[in-house]
Symmetry: D2
Subunit: 511 residues, 4 copies
């Protein structure tokens, strides 16, 4: 719940679309991008942008950007401008304080000697500071603090523009990947192509989908001959809303070329010998939408499995199991199934509260989250409640909920957290509080139950989380990798980044 309440951990979403077949297309590429971004809105609400191309030679690029939710960032007349689009990429940006300017809004477009490129990026380059210096030493001025601009300038710099006749963007992308190991899922649009790139560690997600005729969407699918276009997205949850079917994930290190002829793997850049992949485990725990598919498994199912594992690791003698809505619900249902305790709802959410501007005075501020939740006291009065949360990060939002439940008659409130305590910062793109703010690093953590007013508190173990995540992967993974004729020699095929839990980062950090 704390992520949800505090905007912790929000990051970014990228989405691309290329119409298949002969152009000009009948697909409304800008609307597909917009709807795709709406389905990724949970990944970032600060700003949104799309850039489309007609794919002609030279191409005409059209751009729409704005602050806030997709629905307020674009106006209907903005979308009209894109009516000749045959392909395009889009981006939703996460919300940080202080740096919220339209000029940081992606996709970033720059003009180069070989024409314009557009870039949308999810992630954070672990060696961004060193790369910025390098670019600036070359005499380039950087107008934003965004990694996306840095990436565009790196792409423009090497190989030297003046020495080449044509723009070999694949060479440029490979060069970029050789300079920075992680974390990035990138979309690069150039003329009539969208390049979809995932870093060698696969830290950020990226999936491919296939647009099928609506008439066949609800049927069993149709062959590839029916393909109306290709989409690529941070999460597969965005496919259904635009009538696309899940195709496969972009593999770690893979460079996929998407154009009107289809999807083609151009290269798979390997990790250093012996390094496992490092897909962010918190995509499973919190960030992703429950209906997204990663590594062949539905996120919802993994969360449910975490709840089951939690019930094994930290059982309770309670009367009912419940959840802090909405993100912890699958884990709570898993806990209920495993423990055999009945699942009930103890809180209902007022979906309008979040939008109110009111700065309550002392009287009202003390009520805390009471404004956000209604208490369903009939369901638990006089009972012992085990409440499942997905994470406790700073520890300041669960406390008033426990008070509410006790005041409404819960005799005991046991907290079970379906993820381990966060103890370390993330340098791969997730907005996590400073080490000092994390409750797990504070003295109060010694008696966390007392601190938040719970009868007891238990977290899922790191091993438990990893096993719950990896239990559903292996067989699928092999199949996917065969699809992408990957000539990688990585010794292991499965692996996840647990740096924020363990302090073990997938690559050595250089500052």
């Amino acid at each position: 719940m704390e992520f949800e309440e505090n905007g912790i951990g929000e990051e970014c979403g990228v989405f691309g679309c290329v119409a298949a077949g002969e152009w000009p297309t009948q697909l409304d590429v800008a609307q597909i991008l917009t709807l795709g971004l709406v389905a990724l809105q949970h990944r970032g609400q600060e700003s949104a942008g799309i850039v489309t191309s007609n794919g002609a030679c030279p191409p005409t690029y059209t751009s729409s950007k704005g602050m806030g939710l997709v629905s307020s960032a674009f106006k209907a007349e903005d979308l009209m401008k894109h009516r000749y689009a045959n392909l395009g990429i889009g981006h939703t940006r996460y919300s940080t304080t202080g740096n919220s300017e339209l000029q940081n809004c992606q996709p970033f477009v720059v003009d180069t000697l070989h024409g314009k490129i557009a870039v949308a990026h999810n992630g954070e380059l672990v060696n961004a500071a060193a790369l910025r210096k390098k670019v600036m030493r070359h005499g380039v001025g950087l107008s934003t603090s965004s990694d996306s601009e840095l990436i565009t300038q790196l792409l423009a710099l090497t190989p030297p523009m003046e020495e080449v006749d044509v723009a070999d963007w694949v060479a440029r992308i490979k060069n970029l990947m050789s300079e920075t190991p992680t974390a990035y899922s990138l979309l690069v649009m150039y003329k009539d192509v969208v390049y979809a790139v995932r870093d060698p560690y696969g830290n950020r997600p990226l999936s491919l989908g296939r647009l099928v005729p609506v008439s066949k969407f609800h049927s069993s699918g149709g062959g590839e001959g029916d393909t109306e276009g290709w989409v690529v997205s941070s999460e597969s949850c965005s496919f259904q809303s635009i009538g696309a079917k899940y195709y496969r994930e972009v593999q770690p290190g893979e460079i996929v070329q998407i154009n009107k002829h289809g999807v083609k793997t151009l290269s798979v850049v390997p990790r250093p010998e012996g390094d496992p992949p490092a897909f962010c485990i918190f995509e499973y725990v919190y960030f992703a939408r429950p209906d997204s598919i990663f590594e062949g498994q539905m996120v919802y199912t993994v969360r449910q499995r975490c709840g089951r594992q939690l019930a094994i690791e930290a059982p309770t003698d309670c009367d009912v199991v419940s959840t802090v809505p909405e993100s912890a619900t699958p884990a709570a249902l898993g806990y209920a199934q495993q423990s055999g305790l009945p699942y009930v709802e103890v809180l209902c959410k007022n979906r309008y509260v979040g939008r109110t501007f009111i700065q309550p005075n002392t009287h009202l501020r003390q009520l805390g989250v009471a404004k956000k939740f209604g208490v369903l006291s009939d369901n638990f009065a006089g009972k012992r409640v085990v409440l499942i949360d997905d994470s406790i990060v700073r520890g300041n939002t669960i406390s008033p909920i426990i008070k509410l439940l006790k005041e409404a008659g819960a005799t005991e409130v046991h907290i079970r957290v379906a993820s381990p305590p966060i103890r370390f910062p993330c340098y791969m793109g997730i907005n996590i509080p400073t080490k000092e703010e994390l409750i797990a690093n504070k003295p109060e953590f010694e008696d966390i139950a007392g601190y938040i007013g719970a009868t007891s508190v238990r977290y899922l173990s790191v091993e438990g989380l990893v096993s719950a995540v990896q239990a559903g992967i292996s067989s699928h993974q092999d199949k996917e990798e065969r699809i992408t004729n990957a000539n990688t020699t990585s010794s292991r095929k499965v692996g996840h980044c647990t740096a924020c839990l363990t302090g073990k980062y997938p690559v050595e950090l250089e500052w």
Copy 2:
């Protein structure tokens, strides 16, 4: 779900607050009104308004109104204007087409010979047309089509202004009640008093709450000596968010006076001999928030009981029970408990979709609700699903959901509806489609399952609904009525309006 999707059945919410003790008060009355309205936002999103009074003699009234959600209707600087408020009333208005003007926004304030009154109203006067004629025949011009203005003019007309020295508002309110039997829950503010009035049939809800010091809110409660103020609201769900405790319902026909000295019943206007009360049964089925309390029982619990009753009346041989989120969830959990079938989630909601402005083209419009829901296929693929919905009104939104589930692998999809079919119009304030639009009145209803693509469809019976609603009432009701020294002679104490289901209206309709 259909109510939720289509805005069917939205109505209005009223909220009032009076600071207790000596004035000027330290309570931020305008913020309490605002937060109270936010908690009633589900009852109407078209416009919002508050009017406050400093309660002095003569009083100064301050008014803020605006279109849209409470959060956009008022600006922070608007609320500043109310800083001397000691009491006030507020209103959220439901959304109808074509008549969406700020001047219809309530509360309605008029100046009379005896000073200004402010009126907020939830409901619809069944004989509004006749009353409008009467008022206009007297030579009054009516500037809006709202019942609220009509009520203010009726209050001003009788007894004749010129013949009385003082404003006997209770006499005026009683006279109003003698002219119109239902449906109204009214707040009337005059100088330093808020009168809370519920029509003799109790068709619309109205509850009283007591503001307690925040320091004591989470304790077991404190005596009445701790009362910081009184609130009155369409639904008790709004009390928690402003630090108030549920006190009791306003009884059918009751006129309650709320001033700084407390709450007092001035009169209870009886119904005609033999008429039972007629509280709108759809408040239980759909309109109210699940944590609201009516007739001594929590709405959530009633919905759960409806689900249990439905499982008895219309069992299925399925593998899993699920819900169309979010309003049908309690009924689904009740169905699961009664039937013993496991409860799973099959859909997750994209909470951002509703706000998007996009008018999709043909391609995308055909996807229908696919944009609003993610499919959690792992939870039901290869299984028989019984899907609980709270209502099927027009029958046009459940169909694409059934398609989605089948396409994702459900082998059977049985629909169970936790309320009976709606067949008749409502003349008491609920926005229901025309008789012709209601699926229950169409030939297609003969084979409703075939029409919507379900394996089977069953509705809850009227008797089942009524018994599920009334099962939890009686003992409580007696207690409440003793509180309000009601000298009514109504033969029956419990009764609900089921007119939209049965065509039996609580009063004879005169047009």
Copy 3:
């Protein structure tokens, strides 16, 4: 200049339009109303509204209202709603503090027993308080403080609605006129007619215009057979911008009926025996646009004549004559012509300043009007300047301008004011500062030149103003009155209200 700077004296503007010939009309009535109001924008910038009718039986009324300038009050899509309009009326409202609510925005529409009427009003009823009491004693609640609502309710009350079969609006309007002598220029729309009414004293202006085909607009005119429609406006300056030609003024006390068949005088309500008309003399001095025509003469010409008269009454021994732009320019040119002194510009206006939101800090606030004007020092450095202003009311804005001129090298700055000092409040619709705020009533007025830092200060005399105004009227007036078969017995045909200068009000004030 002070009026211009401080918004003193703004009032309201009314505008009506009726399409001639067979309906439905091809005229875009809503656009004509909108452009007409834009041309009256100088009379009020707080809010604007239009109400149109299709003129059918029963009619459909359509209404658009909004805060601010006409250009922001209406949106393009608002105007679309009026596409079936055959007639309509509009209003721009002046800006007062504290009472700036959309619900006070005119035209006011009410539903009566005989159907809807719409009213737009410029002026202030001198006996409004007594009339409000009367209406409220009848049991009517008044929802606004506007005279316009009061007028609608008075129209609805008498003769008694219940006793008449048809709505005799002329009888109702005459009854209204019998109850209040001044000040009002009214437009009343009912079904397919606009009634244009001017109070018996003619205190507020009202003129009729004739819409001619654009093809003939620039020709010498065309006969009445070419009439495309009729317009009625507070000022004739609005006619040119919508392609209309000046027809005549509505006479004091006249009730004009405008429908598709043309313009017809229904009645001329006389003044009490011996009372002269009392057209507001400040319409000439400041309020009206210079190209408007009243009583047969152009306002610009009257202002120029005031300047000439001022040169006669208060000559100076200066080198150059100039003006505080823009309203005093005609008077300054008149002064220059009469005195033989050369006319130069000493200030240029920054037209963007007015729109800036900046609340300057101490440093910048002290600069006063320096922000609004550029100084054209070459034109007067080393010279003696006589600066013509149209009025000095509070005396707080001319002072910094004199400083600017002296600092830029003017050796002497003589102020000549083309109107007498304002000493009394207006009860007929003009927003004038309180008696205490008027510089003419303060001790400082003894040495006004010293107070504002001028070398000398002289005002135009009341007699001088009246003669400058009336010099151009008489012959014309006779002609107009013959047109309107006026059976009035008023002893005098010419007369102006100078109450704010002399304290002599046209009617006895009753409070």
Copy 4:
């Protein structure tokens, strides 16, 4: 008038401010920048931006940008962010079609190896295309089409960043000036310095001002010891509104360093041997505000002199002289003075028209400028009018005005234009219609009087314009150049760019 009506010729304005004395300053730098830009608003209304620095080491830069007028581009809370500013630069941008994006809004800020620089620019680099290629060949991607970004990247590129220890911005600015001869007036902010740069030809204006204590502003001035800060602006008209006094112009080719210690000339980059300066003559004719001072003379006075010259070159036998308000008024007064004909006003402007959104239908569109002007027919009916305009460019706006005057009774309408016909494009920053659109290049120009419906049409000669401009310069110029110890060897000190009139460009154009 045509410039005014059509937005022809708008360009940009730059403004900078540095607080003098010890920092932190008490000056509200952001408000001074804002007011300064408001006074330059006539130079561009598309967007506005300011960037301030606290001048610390390293500095903190704060930026506010927005679309539209200054008053809508910045919000009050935006300005709060700048409360620690000790220096800053700002920009107003002109309006072109199609490229109106916030990301083109200046000042442009980039991060370089030596820290951030901010650049604001007025003008257009004549060799921009070649320079863009050069920069991109170096591997730099350009994210906008603005010359301002190009300038920042050129400044960053040379001398090579990697080879220098410190940022020698003067060397970098000189290098930039060696690569592009014109047209630019530049402000470059770096840490605690604003560099003010004017191109060697002095094509665009740039002036320095001195902020004095308000207490001394209206006195005769105070010595430099009273200096509170320094400002630099495209036009001196902005000085008065922020309490600054005109100091001097930045000389062609001069690089001025402004910091808290004062103003210092760092270098004066010479023009090629024999080349005269080339200050844009249309700054005098139209662009600049009349109270601005260039080359020691007030713009108003030059325009008046053009009017006098026009009266000599193109006399008429008319009854009255008048103007199309407002920009041609000084020329009209000059014409009147020289010719001895009386000056009258024939048109008054409706200042609200410009803001209205209405897209009139056929009927109303034909009325053309009739909506914008009121006709003061009394002043010219039955007379011969000579109407002075400042320019006729496309020739499509004067025609309906002539019609209006004739229709209102003018017996003859002679047009006299106070500038020569524009025949050639401008490549130095002015938005001029294409060669084909210019009336002077069309066959219709043969009979321009007939084409626009005038009795006769005459333009000022190029020689007449140049002599009217240069008549007031020489003595002053010498004085100024001595102030700025200019070691230039330019043979001539006075010269103006008349390229749009003659086709003779100040530098050879390379494309």
